[in-house]
Amino acid sequence: MNTLVVLLLILFGGGIIAYFAYNIHKIVGDIWLVLVGFAASIYYIGYLDVSQVLNIHLAGFVLTLALNSFSWIFGLLIAVLLPLVALYSIPYMKGQDRLGWFYMLFLFSVGGMYGILMAGDWLTLFIFWEIMTWSSYLIVIYRRSEDAPRVGLKYLIFSAIGAYSLLTAIVLIGANVHSLSISKFFEVLPMHSLGFKVLVGSLMLIGFGVKAAVMPLHVWAPDAYSTTPMNYTSMFSGALSKMGIYGIGLIVINLYYHSGISLAGEIVAWFGAITAVLATYYALIQKDAKRLMAWSSVAQLGYIVAGLGIGTKLSVFAGIYLAVLHGLFKANLFMAIGAVERQAGTTNFSELRALIRKMPWTFFSALISVIVLAGIPPLSGFVGKWMLYESMITSGHYVIVVFLFLASVAGFLYAFRFLFGVFLGQEEKEFEHVKEANPFMTVPMLLIALFLIVLGTFPGIMFKYIARSMADLGFYGVTYKMSVLTNDWGQSINMQYIAASLVIVFVLFLIVLTWVAYKNSRNVTTKDIHTSGEPPSEEDNYHFSENFYRPFQRAFAFVYKYAITPVYNEFARGIEDFFQYVRRLYTGNAQTYALYVLLFLAILFLIAKNIH
């Protein structure tokens, strides 16, 4: 039997069974979920045959399932995250109702992602794209919180914009190329006119850009990421957004660079860079850990899009590397936030204080992830950042690299904001009872953290797969070494020496300092600080959480004043109003929407065929 179909069956069948299993008992459902997670993951890594192709003839269309090395690496990311998130979900979702429904949608969306990666033709891609979108939409509104309908609506409207532009592009392809096969499309593309290429490319980029949250289309992302239950957000931001990156990668490299319109690719890169800068600037004024990390996701995806948009060998390499890495560390960070939310009951910076002593393991994994996020050596984030910057400098994109540097330096600010706001500062009585999260939650986080540490010194572990996937994008002869990075001008850095130097000095002084200081050490509380002699009373708390970056905000007032959104909000509100109006025509039932999408698809195809 075709291994690709088996994987999809595991996920979709597992999803349906999970629905019933959770209706029997929670424990049955949990066991089933973990089983499905591990089964899908092990099956994907161990038994999947990449060379297999399956053609399904359906109503005059040929639906193709085929995996290549480029999509395999994104599948690998999902395969790594899925079992860990499944383990994490067991304690995280304790006490929630409609778990069967939730996990069915969860597995469906994962199945949808795999379907997208396996799609060999545009129609299959679109079908799975919609499955993924719908299941994720239903998860966004799963929690029935106050603003869930609004957030869900926002997500849905942007997804609809993306889906329709994708569909239009597919119809155009169908009408002009007479084949919906993805590989065939890229083969014959150079023969087509410039206008066709730009039009199809732009439509596709809008479609994929929605999921990748590129700047004009990102509005849904911060809300949706922060409203969804955190165990799904780690998949949402970690893996689902990478489907957009996957699509952008396909389009930018194959459509723009291999058919001679690299300017368009650079425009995409510019969109990515601006996304990175502005999203970073919004991230650091957020007052909630979830929203901060949601904005940070948008910013990080901006880097990846910029890397793919530049289109040199090293930058695409860096883009894919960062995409996989972002999936890992952002999933880890959302898991950590989820653990904090579950244990302390809030993720608001003005309420949270000093959880480091209470939740040391969560802090550790969050710390590692934040270091990776900030791109500080010697951890793995730096490897990606280095390749990205060097590729841009060596290819002469020096203005765009300044923008990315700006985003990344300002990224330190929100990285510290997050760690300080949640884990550091003065301890509060209210959080005395807080305990470390369940091992089912911490162990997956720590596993990812460990992997991120190792990857810093030995990035070659992952380079192997990325180099293979580069061949599928048309970059042949990508060389890599275990821990030596080389740029296009031939300069190289050796991560082993750097890491060794840092670690040796660190450990040496740690031993000396601990040995010297241990004997007469006085453990003090966070209340015993310099307060000009005034002894703080029980109820005093000097935690610093309001107006955290006030001077920064003042200095960059113009960014917040002009670039934020009176206009943009109006635009969004207008769209929402419009949608509200449109909504009245329909029943408001999700199935009806799905029906409409399918109807629209059918009508478009009919029109397209008739025109021809």
């Binding site: 400098i393 002084f509 050490s521 006085r522």
Partner: protein, 302 residues
């Protein structure tokens, strides 16, 4: 590369960097004193300070991150000193200069700052946290013109390695400060901010924030931090000299060059009054950014 040779040269370089850095700080105090019409402390005063901090008997421990805070600083400082080429052409003092480049150094610099920021956060002192936010905000101000200057140099000479830059300057008998003057000017303007000296000392502001990030550190922690600060300062000076002033082939010449640059920083620090954070950022994004853009234009045109 012989590992023992590397180790030995690393230790020698670190010790020399420490001695020179601490002496520079003492000289700075002396110069500031002379400018204020005082006699001032002896130039070895900072050695005594560090020794005194290390001979403190008791130790105050706020938590793990607090304990580790000075270690991030010193690991970062020493690693940067090892990556920056101190002696051009010397086989012995090669250190790690072929294993790192400018981007790595730029990214190593916040390594210590963020590590310290975490330790500072665990003490729970609001003054320290305010100091850290100021420091990080200032980082955005100073880093961008500096990075732009470096990128201009990198693109002009087609290399991202400091060692290569030194080699090019030594072989062509020129200094980059003459061949790309705008990049040099931009970097020079933000140099005081990189040292948190001169008008950009709002981070530690003793009268206002009780020395900001350091306010809960004392004894051995502060001693380690001061040592790390001295080494880091010398490493930054060496980096500046390597990139813009042709590096050096012996220690004496290196000392002369770095001290000249440091004298500039001290002079600016004595003359200029302290700026508020947003003023500092605006100032750093004023002329330095203009110079950096001119440097870009120079690269693009020539």
């Amino acid at each position: 590369m012989n590992i023992w040779n590397l180790l030995l040269s690393a230790i020698v370089t670190t010790l020399l960097g420490f001695i020179i850095g601490v002496t520079y700080m003492g000289i700075r105090r002396k110069i500031v004193a002379l400018a204020q019409n005082r006699y001032g402390p002896p130039i070895y005063q900072n050695f005594l300070d560090i020794l005194k901090f290390w001979s403190k008997e008791s130790n105050i421990y706020h938590g793990v991150m607090h304990h580790l805070a000075p270690l991030w600083m010193i690991a970062m400082a020493i690693t940067i000193l090892l990556i920056v080429p101190t002696q051009y052409g010397s086989k012995f003092f090669e250190n790690l200069s072929f294993n790192g480049d400018l981007i790595l150094i730029l990214y190593l610099m916040p390594f210590g700052q963020l590590g310290m920021a975490l330790g500072v956060g665990q003490t729970g002192n609001p003054n320290s946290a305010i100091g850290v936010t100021r420091g990080l905000s200032l980082l955005v101000g100073s880093e961008i013109p500096f990075i732009m200057a470096l990128i201009a140099v990198m693109i002009q000479y087609h290399t991202t390695s400091v060692t290569d830059l030194v080699r090019i300057q030594q072989e062509h008998h020129t200094w980059i400060m003459f061949s790309s003057p705008f990049a040099f000017l931009a970097a020079l303007c933000v140099l005081p901010a990189m040292f948190h000296a001169g008008p950009y000392e709002v981070i530690i502001a003793p009268a206002e924030l009780a020395s900001g990030p350091m306010s809960e550190f004392g004894g051995k922690y502060l001693g380690t931090m001061m040592s790390a600060g001295s080494i880091f300062m010398f490493a930054k000076l060496t980096l500046f000299v390597d990139v813009f002033m042709g590096g050096s082939t012996n220690w004496l010449w290196l000392i002369v060059k770095t001290f000249t640059v440091y004298l500039f920083v001290i002079a600016v620090g004595i003359i200029m009054p302290r700026l508020r954070t947003e003023q500092a950022i605006r100032r750093l994004w004023g002329w330095p950014l203009v110079f950096a853009i001119l440097a870009f234009i120079q690269v693009a045109l020539f």
